[in-house]
């Protein structure tokens, strides 16, 4: 299986093309499912290989880097792959019924095509060793994402998609400009190569500008406050499957781009000592946490509420990176992983509510704790994990984040973080209260919830508890990834 690194990108791309050719809804779903199953298998096997070797390097066509294109999978890439392919697999199981319900028949084949393209793009970003390739894969995933969002039933989805298209294109272009500057200064695009050649030219305005362009570009894609405006609409109006998949993966990959460029490529010394990027991250992260959480409290559409919550959670991750310490990086990576589990659970549960009522307004959820006990129990688990109740995955990352803050003697910030989780309690609590303590509405929907949706939901929900009680895997990979990052940088 020496070709796994390339197959994991090529397989979804080819499958996407195949789906269009076969042009059959059921077959399209089956191919999507099998492809994501294969990708999941591939990422797990690569994770196993990484127990033995530091890095899996694959040269396309046998052309050695820096001349050829290199795929390079270290522990950080493997962590991203695990999140991406795991979410993709669960989302594919879930998609069968949800897509039948939410997407017009004639668009369903195209939907699966776009979904696989997004997957291929995101996987590509995570494993490529070439800076320009990052931009290429980013565009593949972004363009397909715009299409996916516009498939939402609500006409406002079109506007949301257009808004994201605008912001996303600016972001991607900024990244491209940044890469261009670096190429001009060093004459290479290979990330390994760049990281070795940059220090010689680091003290130039061109490189500093490159840094700024890339940071802002990635910041837009990650919905870093105040560059977040595209996200609430995109998550609210897109089909449930899309919002689930995006919430679990897309912004995290943008954070990955940020980590990859800032830590492995520019290096810790440049990013955090020459440019006080750590302080910027701490400030923006904290604002993101508070702002996102406060906005979330005031939302009456639960999807939008979760969207703002995602902005807050990205804030946690950025803050953790901004601590510029081993503990901080570990906390950030752990939270990238755990937050994918949390938001996957919550958006899937909400998708089932949407499946039955064709709405995600808080008011229609009155009393559904009784009529949809399995769905709401899973939502509750996800909510507790989001708050960071012990025994859930959310607790593990919160624990490490606060430890990292205390190690950095930032205890007022630690207190602030924990008080901010009380805001989480409020907005999750609002949903729980309406679902469990309000009388059920008249004219209850008679639709039965499909088993496939519930199975996918519960795998997500139970993984929150599993990784809350046993963090060996998530912790192991994150620690390994951080050690490699710091090793590369020094």
């Amino acid at each position: 299986m020496t070709h796994l690194p390339v197959l994991i990108v090529v397989a979804p791309l080819l499958a996407a093309a195949l789906i269009v050719l076969l042009n059959n809804r059921k077959v399209a779903w089956l191919i999507t499912l099998l492809t994501s199953l294969f990708c999941f298998y591939a990422s797990v096997s690569m994770l196993e290989i990484l127990q033995e070797v530091d890095v899996i390097s694959y040269t396309l066509g046998g052309w050695k880097a820096p001349f050829g294109i290199e795929l390079r999978i270290d522990a950080l890439s493997a962590l991203m792959l695990l999140i991406l392919t795991g979410s993709a697999l669960l989302v594919s199981i879930y998609a069968l019924k949800s897509v039948e319900k939410e997407i017009p028949d004639k668009n369903q084949v195209l939907f699966y095509t776009a979904l696989l393209m997004v997957l291929a793009g995101l996987i590509g970003i995570s494993i490529t060793g070439d800076a320009f390739n990052v931009f290429v894969f980013l565009e593949i995933s972004s363009l397909s994402t715009y299409a996916l969002i516009s498939l939402g039933r609500d006409r406002r989805a079109l506007h949301a998609s257009y808004q994201y298209l605008m912001m996303g294109t600016i972001g991607a272009t900024f990244i491209l400009i940044g890469i261009g500057f670096m190429y001009v200064m060093t004459g290479t695009l290979n990330i390994q190569d760049l990281s070795q050649r940059l220090p010689a030219v680091a003290d130039t305005n061109a490189i500093r500008a490159a840094f700024a362009f890339i940071t802002i570009g990635a910041g837009i894609k990650a919905a870093m406050l105040p560059l977040h405006q595209w996200l609430p609409n995109a998550y609210t109006y897109s089909p449930s499957v899309v919002s689930t998949f995006l919430a679990a993966t897309a912004t995290k990959v943008a954070v990955y781009v940020m980590i990859r460029f800032e830590l492995s490529l520019f290096g810790i010394e440049f990013s955090f000592l020459q440019i006080p990027f750590d302080k910027i991250l701490v400030i923006l992260g904290t604002i993101g946490i508070l702002g996102g959480s406060i906005y979330a409290v005031y939302q009456n559409n639960v999807k939008r509420m979760l969207a703002y919550s995602s902005i807050a959670q990205i804030g946690y991750i950025l803050l953790a990176i901004g601590l510029a310490s081993q503990a901080g990086f570990t906390a950030a990576l752990l939270h990238i992983f755990n937050h994918a589990l949390i938001k996957g659970t919550l958006f899937m549960a909400l998708g089932i509510v949407f499946f039955r009522f064709a709405s995600a307004e808080l008011s229609i959820m009155a009393g559904i704790g009784k009529t949809m006990p399995l769905t709401m129990a899973a939502f509750t688990i996800g909510g507790l994990s989001l708050i960071g109740i012990p025994g859930t995955a959310g607790f593990v990352s919160k624990w490490y984040l606060v430890t990292a803050l205390l190690d950095a003697s930032l205890w007022p910030l630690a207190l602030l973080i924990l008080v901010a989780s009380v805001l989480t309690l409020i907005y999750v609590g609002r949903v729980i209260e309406v679902a469990y303590f309000r009388p059920t509405l008249k004219g209850e929907s008679q639709l039965k919830v499909p088993k496939t949706m519930l199975i996918a939901l519960w795998i997500f929900a139970l993984s929150n508890i599993y990784f809350g009680l046993n963090s060996d895997i998530s912790m192991g990979v994150s620690t390994l990834a951080v050690n490699q990052l710091i090793g590369v940088a020094s």
Partner: protein
């Protein structure tokens, strides 16, 4: 039977009871017999554990290890045994009471009630047996969540609002302060194990440790130290058996238990004695004792009055822990048991009055003693135990507490305690005096009022007898308490 097995049994019996209740939800008799049986069985297991445990050789059972170096583990120590015994004994008694109460009061959703009740006992037992702060915190949060459906049981708007207050205060303090304190301790010492003598001494400057103590004590919202006490009166909208067991015994005692454990096994009693913030906290506890008593005097609603009395009594234990002297630890631990028996009796009586006479206010109770003599007599004895008069259990802990303030050379707190006893006497003993001696509002007042339902009456008699027995048979409890500082 091995100790490990007993630990497991103590945790699983309540859970199995909850499951059994769920399965028997269509048959009230089977459902309630199961709750009772589960309770009795649990008590026997706890008693067996108490008899076969040797504190010289503690047994630790590690369940899981969520993070490297941090485990979910169980270990019994003397303080935990006291709490386990008290909660284990009072659960079946409360179940007995609840059967009479819930039926006579025609409460709805009784299955949900009994399930949440059993799971709350599970969380309480996990707190009592926890071997480290992480396990304790996990169980502490579970207890908050599982008691929430009990607080909002009535489903009215008032109950929902009370639920928000309850959840809001308990979660804000625990996540905001307690969790921070725990992680801070971890980052200072690298361990969270409850260790005799404490783990924090010398790990940081005294000022830092003082701040940490503040976080721990304020973070334990369940101990209801002012200004974080509001949830307790709010929780009184719950059915009386819940107020009795959870908000006079399990939940609030979990709070003061946490503070005791932290002072004895995390800080160490000597370190507490040298911290300025401990002194300020003991003064704040003194303030809470007096002001809660004064508020209690002004409350006409019987359950609200008892709630404020609980707040005041809890601060006795906080005060005892913050004195930093050995006598304080003994007094506080004994008071956990003594106050539990007395306060649960008072709540039982309040519930009996509600069910039989449909009265909730103190001012309506003139002359009720003629119709409900047993209930009122029990109320009188329990009140005297709280005041601390012989021959009732409460006199021992009060006695020790006074001695502890003298050991700590704190005249102010000594006066606070004496003054508060006086206030207790006024606002608690007033009620049986009204019941027995005051003239009813009209002549037909006692028509149709009977004694409490017989299941409930038996429960009241058991706990009242407990108050008396604890006075005469205090030796085993004393031996146990003395082990804490070994």
């Amino acid at each position: 039977m091995s100790i490990e097995l007993l630990y497991i049994l103590i945790l699983t019996i309540p859970l199995l009871t909850a499951l059994g209740v769920l399965l028997c939800h269509q048959n009230p008799n089977a459902r309630e017999s199961l709750t009772l049986l589960g309770g009795i069985f649990l008590f026997f297991v706890v008693a067996k554990l108490a008899l076969s445990y040797d504190f010289e050789q503690t047994v630790t059972l590690t369940l899981l290890e969520p993070f490297p170096g941090l485990s979910l583990a169980l270990r019994l120590e003397p303080l935990g045994l006291i709490f386990t015994l008290v909660a284990g004994f009072l659960w079946p008694v409360t179940s007995l009471y609840a059967i009479g109460y819930m039926r006579a009061h025609h409460e709805k959703n009784q299955t949900r009630f009994y399930i949440a009740f059993a799971i709350s006992i599970f969380a309480t037992m996990a707190i009592a047996l926890s071997a480290n702060l992480l396990t304790l915190f996990l169980a502490y949060e579970m207890l908050t969540l599982f008691t929430l459906p009990l607080v909002t049981h009535a489903g009215t708007d008032a109950a929902r609002r009370a639920g928000w207050t309850y959840l809001g205060i308990l979660m804000t303090t625990s996540i905001g302060f307690l969790l921070l304190a725990i992680i801070w301790t971890w980052s200072l010492t690298g361990t969270l194990e409850f260790t005799p003598g404490g783990i924090l001494a010398g790990k940081a400057e005294l000022a830092t440790l003082g701040g940490l103590l503040l976080l721990f004590v304020f973070g334990t919202g369940k101990a209801a130290l002012m200004p974080f006490h509001r949830w307790l009166p709010a929780a009184m909208v719950a059915p009386t058996p819940v107020s009795a067991l959870l908000h006079a015994v399990a939940v609030v005692k979990a709070g003061v238990f946490t503070i005791m454990k932290v002072s004895v096994y995390i800080f160490g009693i000597d370190l507490i004695g040298s911290l300025d913030s401990a002194y300020w906290l003991s003064l704040l506890a003194g303030f809470t004792i007096v002001s809660a008593s004064i508020i209690a005097m002004s409350k006409d609603n019987l359950k609200a009055r008892l709630a404020y009395s609980t707040i005041s009594q809890l601060s006795y234990i906080i005060l005892a822990a913050m004195l930093g002297v050995a006598t304080g630890v003994f007094a506080g631990s004994l008071h956990i048991a003594m106050h539990a028996f007395a306060k649960i009796t008072l709540f039982f009586c309040a519930g009996a009055i509600l069910v039989s006479a449909h009265k909730t206010c103190v001012s309506e109770l003139n002359g009720i003693g003629r119709a409900m003599p047993f209930t009122m007599l029990a109320f009188l004895l329990a009140s005297l135990s709280i005041v601390g008069l012989p021959p009732l259990g409460g006199s021992w802990s009060k006695w020790l507490l006074l001695q502890a303030t003298m050991d700590a050379h704190s005249t102010v707190l000594l006066i606070v305690l004496l003054f508060s006893s006086l206030l207790n006497l006024f606002y608690l003993v007033e009620i049986p005096i009204r019941g027995f001696f005051a003239t009813p509002a009209d002549l037909n007042y006692n028509n149709g009022i009977k004694e409490a339902p017989k299941f409930s009456l038996i429960a009241i008699l058991i706990t009242t007898a407990g108050c008396l027995v604890l006075f005469f048979l205090v030796n085993p409890a004393w031996n146990l308490v003395e082990q804490i500082l070994r």
